[in-house]
């Protein structure tokens, strides 16, 4: 399948290795990967702050760039940005926006896409890991994706899923994390205190991971590896 990568601004600018892992995974699953270069951001930071016109301008640019490649499917390594386009974008640009109509029905979060177009991907992690999977809020509650990422991890030998407070918000919340840093950090601590039994923290939203990684490093818990789902799967399926 011809897949357009919606890499998201955060991955492009701060953690490109997640984008590389995503592209290679899709390639290994037999897809032809394209990267529509005109994409920037889904507009969510401004949208969540109440600045809708500003959000709409940026969203338009990204939708236009994605739609122009007319891929058969679009994949993003971020549940939150996927939600922005699938669920909230219509409020900003109207549900009759031609670019939105091309992109939204074909846009999938990575594990969601792999569930139907990459389930043959199996692999092994050596040494084995105890993985705490983080349910990011938009992905869990708006997209209803809880089974898919766990099944993707379940296809990897050497992964044992750890029990923890997976569904509670980590406290990132976009600009919330900088507007109210004390609260945001307290929320991270609340969640991370249940992490004891895992050696790896894994999620499908780079923003939450950036927040929790930053907190774990600051409190001296570097022994917990923080990895995006795409990175773990890429590592496990290396030829």
């Amino acid at each position: 399948m011809r897949v357009g990568l919606f890499v998201t601004c955060l991955v492009d600018l701060l953690c490109p290795e997640v984008g590389v892992a995503t592209a290679r995974l899709l390639q290994r699953a037999g897809h032809q990967v394209e990267f529509p270069e005109g994409q920037t951001c889904c507009g969510q930071p401004a949208f969540n702050s109440g600045y809708r016109a500003e959000a709409a301008g940026v969203l338009h640019q990204t939708l236009r760039a994605l739609a122009a490649t007319d891929a058969e499917a679009y994949v993003a390594p971020a549940g939150s940005c996927t939600t922005m386009i699938r669920t909230f974008a219509a409020e900003l640009v109207g549900d009759d926006d031609p670019d939105l109509r091309v992109v939204a029905p074909r846009l999938f979060e990575l594990s969601e896409f792999l569930a139907s177009h990459g389930s043959a991907l199996a692999g092994r992690l050596e040494p084995p890991r105890r993985v705490a999977y983080h349910d990011s809020c938009h992905m869990l509650r708006e997209l209803g994706l809880a089974r898919e990422p766990r099944e993707a991890l379940g296809r990897v030998a050497g992964v044992e899923l750890a029990d923890w407070d997976s569904e509670r918000c980590c406290g990132f919340g976009g600009t919330f994390s900088m507007r109210q840093p004390e609260l945001s950090v307290a929320m991270a601590d609340e969640k991370l205190r249940t992490l004891a039994s895992a050696d790896t923290l894994c999620g499908a939203d780079p923003s939450c991971l950036m927040h929790m990684r930053g907190r774990l490093e600051r409190i001296g818990r570097e022994e917990v590896a923080v990895r995006h789902l795409a990175e773990l799967l890429e590592e496990a399926t290396r030829p």
Binding site: R24, T40, N48, Y51, R179, L183, E190, H211
Partner: protein, 466 residues
């Protein structure tokens, strides 16, 4: 912890710091009580055969009732009056207070017993009665503790849920309790003390959970039976309700009561449900001689007319507070408003439109949506919080913030400018030289930095695919 901060003159962040700056006892009490109540809610709703369908049914019934609010309120008023009660529509808090005071003055009241009423807190009735020389005693155990402590309630349903057993001993000690932390002993003490007050009271003041338009019945729910005492023992009952509490008929009331009990306390039906239609009739043995209903607007018409109308569907169960990860950290008082938690963050800016500090309450949320998932009537609270932020930004917001978003939008609407503004993310900058938002980030977290080139640069160089 120091005294509860007031909304005026403080920022949300300052109040959050106040709540987070203690010794952690607040958070451990919140963790214990909200986990307990949220767990009860889950189990209570899971017992139902198809909770999601009931939730959707309740949502559409509430939406329909709110859509025909004037008509239902008219019918309710007719029926209440036909049953012998009086009805007063108060446009604002002052009208409501003056009306209540007028009734008390006419009866020469000295002592009023109150059961739990968020509306009475909203209109600050207690302080006004005290000024007039009327003792207004809270009879809900938690509210009583808060009153004795000089603190407002911290939760819609469990006003003193943040108090530890040791706090309880201290508080009850001020009115003569000399026992230990045993709940039965404290409860027995409260019962003995309050029972005399019920008998001596001139007026009973209650809230209203639901008002059934078709029969003119006020439905009042409590877990301790104090609402029933307040509404039947004193010779006069004054019932206060927000104008959105009206429901069309008993079928709607039946469903909402089942959801209220389960969502709020995990019980299949609330412990005490009083259904009051008019005052005592001839030949009846109990009930008040007079029943006065006060229906409060106080900003609700503004909510009704705007994009947050669905907030009026709320049945005040408190489930969204118990599920909220923000409430779990800061508790009710940090909101600075009578209504806390997600529902409070939605309605307080609208109810308090003359208090500029209230506008930013819509930021007391990470927008995680746990409130929406927990709400038994399916209110999309996270979307209403977003609506609040939109309203705040449109109303002027912060000038520097607006300018920053404009500049951001202009740059990131062009891939080339986006590339230029994004590129410096590679360098490691000393924290003291970081721009302000990142400095805030760095307070508790290491600052992320990119290893190597951006994704798009790697793509152009052909380094991405195998």
């Amino acid at each position: 912890m120091s005294a509860v901060p007031s909304l005026t003159g403080t920022t949300l962040r300052e109040r959050e710091r106040w709540a987070l700056g203690g010794d952690g006892r607040l958070q451990s009490a919140l963790r214990r009580t909200t986990d307990n109540l949220d767990g009860r809610r889950r189990r209570g709703l899971d017992e139902l055969e198809d909770p999601e369908t009931l939730r959707q049914t309740a949502r559409s019934l509430r939406t329909a009732a709110v859509a025909r609010l004037p008509e239902l309120l008219g019918r309710l008023a007719d029926r209440v009056q036909a049953a012998g009660g009086t009805v007063f529509f108060a446009a604002d808090a002052e009208e409501a207070r003056a009306h209540v005071l007028g009734i008390c003055a006419r009866r020469g009241a000295k002592l009023a017993v109150k059961s739990k009423s968020m509306v009475s807190e909203e209109i600050e009735l207690g302080a006004r009665l005290a000024e007039a020389g009327i003792e207004a005693l809270e009879t809900d155990l938690g509210e009583w503790a808060q009153q004795l402590d000089g603190e407002p309630p911290a939760h819609i349903l469990g006003p003193a849920m943040h108090k530890t057993p040791a706090d309880w001993v201290r508080v009850l000690g001020t009115v003569g309790y000399d026992g230990d932390e045993s709940a039965p002993a404290m409860t027995a003490f409260a019962r003995r003390t309050l029972r005399d007050k019920f008998h001596a009271a001139d007026v009973g003041i209650t809230g209203v959970n639901l008002a059934v338009a078709e029969s003119g019945t006020l439905v009042i729910v409590s877990n301790e039976g104090n609402a029933r005492m307040s509404s039947t023992v004193p010779p006069v009952q004054i019932a206060l309700m927000g104008m959105e509490r009206v429901v069309a008929d008993w079928a709607e009331a039946d469903l909402l009561l089942a959801l209220l009990g389960r969502a709020g306390a995990g019980v299949s039906f609330p412990t005490y449900v009083s259904a009051i239609t008019g005052p005592r009739r001839p030949r009846e043995r109990d009930g008040p001689q007079e029943l006065h209903l006060v229906v409060l607007d106080n900003g609700r018409s503004r909510i009704l007319a705007g994009a947050s109308r669905e907030a009026l569907n709320c049945i005040r169960c408190g489930a969204c507070l118990n599920a909220c990860p923000v409430y779990r950290q800061i508790g009710g008082h940090a909101y600075g408003s009578v209504y806390s938690g997600p529902i409070g963050a939605v309605i307080s800016p609208l109810l308090l439109d003359d208090v500029p500090e209230a506008a930013e309450l819509s930021h007391a949320s990470s927008l995680c949506g746990a409130c929406w998932a927990a709400c038994p009537v399916g209110i999309p609270l996270h979307e209403l919080l977003l609506e609040g932020r939109r309203r705040e930004a449109a109303g002027g917001g912060d000038r520097a913030e607006r300018a920053a978003w404009r500049a951001w939008a202009q740059a990131w609407s062009h891939p080339r400018l986006y590339g230029l503004t994004g590129a410096p993310a590679r360098a490691r900058i000393p924290e003291r030289l970081l721009p302000p938002p990142l400095r805030e980030w760095a307070r508790g977290r290491t600052v992320p930095h990119r290893a190597g080139a951006t994704f798009r640069a790697r793509w152009r160089r052909g380094e991405v695919l195998e």
